[in-house]
Symmetry: C2
Subunit: 212 residues, 2 copies
């Protein structure tokens, strides 16, 4: 199908298709962060990205598909885990990364907008859950290594430990409104380590198995 | 000011004003739970509650005020804490109450709708935070009693322990999509106890002081 409007921009590695995707996803991220999920509109995004409307409709079809693709792209682009050599250090690095993301004006607003949309849109919820599955999986080896070093009980549910690091920070942002500062991040990491050491996250627990 | 429409319903303790409030708040809760925040409309709620539109506009003025009043009413009506005699038992009761609320079809949907609205409306966010302040305060004595019994370090931030019980359950509902079952509740309580015992929630930490 012919493009109704020529694509504006320089050629980047990955070619035209990758460039169109990057431009449209960036525009979608901008709208999410500044105006919210309800203001996303494929025709408007095509205009903002300088991309043909037909291209955008053909590629994504719906706003929900586009947001799912944005989350997939963010999962791919996300920072790799930090390995410090200790569980305390690794989980503190994880907590501080989550804290910085949630308090970053653009990223924080973007996540809040997507989380809000996910409460009433199953497609967006599925994309969100898949984003966090990727992110949790990225950090799981820190816990596995701590088990190998003998720092944690052998049957520790590694995924549950990583979730425990993030949970207090998301709770503050979304629910209680308490500050999400570096102290809160460090406390979240320390609490997760203490709970894991005491055997509070056994992999035999129902919720743990169900969430693998 | 005269009522344009007579109020339908039986007289209940608290009189006509209390009855109107109860009827309108129930209608607002119904709409929030089934259709979401975006569908709240004062004239529609007056009709659903069988109350004069003028009464509703005069009493609440805006949807945000009405939702704030709904949350205040929910905080007043909420169940008191359970005292089991041990920190483990008390926090498990707290976690299971949160778990039942979040998985209840009406209550769970209602909280998700308000939390989503709070991400983009500061007035609703303030009402939400105030709801959770009341609920956290209700359960804080469990931690204080555990400190007095010598179960926890003397400088434990009691509010932070209560937040730690809820956080993993809200994280599952809103963020990761993992199941919020009784096992998840019990694990959240056990992890909070273990972290508190190890001294992970000192009241001297910055975030703790700032959030009193």
């Amino acid at each position: 199908m012919a493009e109704p409007t020529p694509v504006v921009g320089t050629v980047r590695p990955g070619g035209r298709t990758a460039r169109v995707r990057a431009d449209v996803l960036r525009a979608a991220g901008d709208v999410l962060a500044t105006e919210g999920f309800g203001r996303l509109d494929l025709a408007d995004l095509a205009r903002r990205a300088g991309v043909g409307k037909t291209t955008v409709y053909r590629r994504w079809g719906t706003v929900a598909n586009l947001v799912a693709d944005l989350l997939a792209d963010m999962a791919e682009q996300s920072l790799p885990r930090t390995e410090t050599g200790t569980l305390d250090g690794d989980l503190r690095a994880n907590a501080r990364l989550v804290q910085r993301t949630l308090t970053d004006p653009r990223q924080g607003a973007l996540f809040k907008a997507v989380i809000a949309a996910a409460t009433c849109d199953p497609h967006t919820a599925a994309a969100l859950h898949s984003f966090y599955r990727v992110r949790i999986e990225e950090w799981v080896p820190c816990v596995r290594q701590a088990i190998e070093r003998g720092e944690l009980p052998a049957d520790t549910d590694a995924h549950e430990v990583i979730r425990a690091v993030s949970a207090p920070l998301y709770y503050r942002v979304l629910v209680s409104g308490d500050p999400v500062d570096e102290a809160a991040a460090d406390r979240a990491a320390a609490a997760a380590v203490a709970a894991a050491r005491s055997g509070s996250f056994p992999s035999s627990a129902t919720g743990g198995l169900a969430s693998r």
